[in-house]
């Protein structure tokens, strides 16, 4: 069939074109990150060797070592706290019935749509009043709350679909709600929890506005803020800036490559309306 062969060729041509469009801007950063600073310039060119020292320079001179430490601390705490809190809340929303259950759930849903821009001003003055600006708390608490909104919504879907028979069997065996949650539902809900964890990880790692508003000292800066700061200070140091950009993006990209399906599933779920 000639037409089907033509269709096939055309389809792959379009796909490859879009793959190139998606990759070229990223490749320009990666190739510059490996170039010597004399050779490096904005644009797509082959690196003049593999200058790994750009990453060492970014780590030390560009303070990325310190930025990465702040990012790791904030991200780990937010991911763990949000996963715990939203799993517990979603368990109640998904499997129990009590007065006000739907009102409370809609309150959490509201948090999915409210933009950070509507919260950041009072958050700044509240934390300043408590003397907590420029601490990790100012980054951890608001981001935990925003992730809890998504996490509760996401995990509730899993819990309300979870098998009644297994839960009831466990209950007849004398298990309380607490051990049903942790011994039965959480182990079998690993895929849903993985999605929640990787999505929260990405959001927290990439967060910029909150860090920009809350953080003023160098050793509290997270990597995205550090990169923006670095761009302002050393915009001519192209190779170093590129190496810094790679350091910012790499952790998320690696996790994405491993958990690609979970990422996509989680990010596409945000628009589902009840």
């Amino acid at each position: 069939m000639i037409s089907s062969r033509l269709d096939r060729t055309l389809t792959y041509a379009v796909l490859v074109l879009f793959v190139v469009i998606a990759l070229v801007p990223i490749l320009q950063i990666v190739s510059t990150a490996f170039s010597s600073n004399e050779h490096a310039q904005p644009g797509l060119l082959l690196p003049d060797g593999l200058h790994w020292h750009n990453f060492v320079d970014a780590w030390q001179r560009g303070h990325f070592g310190s930025y990465l430490r702040s990012s790791v601390i904030v991200t780990v705490v937010v991911v763990v706290a949000a996963a715990l809190l939203s799993t517990m809340a979603a368990y109640a929303f998904g499997t129990m019935r009590f007065p006000g259950v739907s009102v409370l759930f809609y309150l959490f849903l509201l948090g999915l749509t409210v933009p950070e821009e509507a919260l950041v001003i009072p958050l700044y003055y509240d934390f300043r009043g408590l003397g907590l600006t420029d601490t990790y708390w100012a980054l951890i608490l608001p981001q935990t709350a925003q992730s809890v909104a998504f996490g509760t919504y996401w995990m509730r879907t899993y819990f309300s679909r979870s098998s009644r028979e297994i839960t009831e069997a466990a209950r007849i065996d004398g298990a309380g709600t607490w051990s049903i949650l942790w011994r039965v539902l959480v182990p079998s809900g690993r895929p849903a929890i993985t999605t929640l964890v990787v999505i929260t990880f990405m959001w927290t790692w990439n967060e910029f506005l909150l860090a920009l508003v809350m953080v003023s000292s160098n050793d509290r800066r997270t990597v995205p803020l550090g990169l923006a700061f670095f761009q302002g200070q050393h915009s001519s140091d192209v190779a170093l800036l590129a190496a810094g950009a790679v350091l910012v993006a790499l952790p998320v990209v690696l996790v994405y490559l491993v958990f690609q399906r979970r990422f996509i599933e989680g990010m596409l779920s945000g628009a589902v309306k009840e």
Partner: protein
């Protein structure tokens, strides 16, 4: 089942109201209320004052909100945001549909690879996207060099420094971020359309365009709604890209509400006005989300 067990089981049946639920919700609710609901209320309260962040605030009622319509430096950002939605939302959806239409006629191998690569821009920090696109638009950057390579060097210019072109230039960066998401959504959708519908359409003599209009487009309705909601919400929330590429300039030509909130509250000391912009943005996001879901339901 012994009667005793059955009675115990019934007493704790799954549908039964249990106050225990509040205990499970409490920790999440406390954090959520303290960090989202209370600040949202405070934002509304702030927006009713004229306040520079330092001295005593003066009550101005709804003045900050009427200014959203009357003050050109506030109306402008909202108009820019709507223009950007063409790039952040409409273009990615159109490109995604184009791809879906092409793919509906063929079973593609290596779908996982294509999906992984096309979705990749979505997971990059906006800071990295901003660095990337600043370079593309830089003098002697990828765009200018590309234009020179095809003999259009005369078109090369300072893209992000142009009053008329900076906004679309930032918009194209947003298109790059969003197109993969739409494609991945529509690819997944198009693979679930039964082949018989296409065969039936072809038997009726439908060409590629009629086939797209009669089969692919209606079947992808839910996916289009999801894509529109996600890209609209993400587009209107997008502060990082503007702040890091143009900082609203040149002049105010690329200022958007998300940027204006930060600029007014933390750079020029107009906290009340900034809060009103933030609340206005929230209302706009809610309104557009509702419109999108109504459009989809209305068509069903």
């Amino acid at each position: 089942m012994p009667d005793r067990v059955r009675a115990a089981y019934r007493r704790r049946a799954p549908g039964e109201p249990r106050a225990l639920g509040y205990l499970y919700i409490a920790p999440a609710l406390v954090v959520f209320v303290a960090m989202v609901i209370v600040p949202l209320g405070q934002s509304v309260w702030y927006s009713l004052f004229s306040w520079d962040g330092l001295s005593v605030a003066t009550w101005v009622g709804a003045d900050n909100y009427t200014a959203l319509f009357s003050d050109p430096t506030l109306r402008g950002p909202f108009l820019h945001a709507l223009v950007l939605l063409i790039f952040y939302s409409l273009l990615p959806i159109t490109l995604g549909l184009l791809l879906a239409a092409a793919m509906s006629r063929v079973r593609v191998r290596g779908l996982t690879f294509f999906r992984t690569v096309l979705f990749l821009p979505q997971v990059l920090a906006m800071v990295v996207v901003a660095v990337t696109w600043r370079w593309i638009y830089a003098p002697s950057g990828l765009l200018d060099e590309g234009l020179r390579a095809v003999g259009l060097g005369g078109l090369a210019r300072s893209w992000l420094g142009s009053f008329s072109l900076a906004l679309p230039a930032v918009g194209v960066a947003g298109t790059w971020v969003g197109f993969g998401l739409c494609m991945v959504l529509f690819l997944a959708g198009v693979q679930t359309i039964p082949r018989e519908r296409y065969e039936a359409a072809r038997l009726d003599g439908a060409g590629p365009w009629q086939e797209f209009r009669a089969v692919t487009l209606p079947a992808l309705r839910p996916q289009i709604a999801v894509a529109a909601t996600l890209t609209i919400v993400a587009g209107l929330r997008n502060f990082d890209l503007i702040y890091l590429t143009t900082a609203g300039g040149p002049g105010n030509s690329t200022a958007v509400p998300a940027y204006e909130v930060y600029h007014r509250a933390f750079e020029i000391g107009q906290v009340g006005s900034a809060a009103a912009v933030g609340i206005g943005l929230t209302v706009l996001i809610f309104a557009l989300t509702v419109v999108v879901s109504r459009l989809v339901e209305g068509g069903r």
